[in-house]
Symmetry: C2
Subunit: 136 residues, 2 copies
Amino acid sequence: MKRNPLVLVVACVLINKNCRILFAQRPKSKSMAGLWELPGGKIKLHEKPEETLIRELYEELGLVIRTKWITPFVFTSYAYDTFHLLMPLYVCRKFEGTPKPKEGQVLRWLSSDEFANYPMPAADLPLLPFLCKLLA
Amino acid sequence: MKRNPLVLVVACVLINKNCRILFAQRPKSKSMAGLWELPGGKIKLHEKPEETLIRELYEELGLVIRTKWITPFVFTSYAYDTFHLLMPLYVCRKFEGTPKPKEGQVLRWLSSDEFANYPMPAADLPLLPFLCKLLA
């Protein structure tokens, strides 16, 4: 039986005052290029999930968030061909700054009517009904 | 800055036909003895979260569950003194067998009126409102 590594990624539903969620399009240099995803990244050794999210949102978007502004929401668990993804998803409605694409990604704030039309990684698809409920 | 290890545990909200959730009291031989918790356990190297849950529910309770019977629900992230716990929580309403305490634990099916009175590990407390919603 093939034993793929477990990859631990945290991501964030960033919601703005207009009830839109921030999505980023993966740049050409990365795997799954062109697909739209929620911001976040891999948990490094000895990092807490909240620390990862604070670090990634600053590195990717220039945003400052704090642990007390994020809440556990749901998670996804998905078997890709070469790894198994486990991705806890936080919700964040408060942040400092305006998101800037610091890694060449394209950013877009999307409503629940809109994000259904954006191609996303397979692991993220089961999350969409949860996102719709959050905005309802 | 103290760098505690991240410990990855999966747990399960097992719900029976009477809308009660299964809790197990940690035996005296374990840390946090006497506290009541949801069944589950540590993810082993190269194990998928679903595989861990299937293995643990069989080892601890003699229950057979299948991947298609479990759904991602919520997660908890909590800084204990010596480790940081990240615990994805699944929901399972279908299982084969009757739970048996195979590791000396005490088992109890509890309603949302009841489980509020049972002492639980600190990391589990933020999950209780989610459990109440699930039974409502």
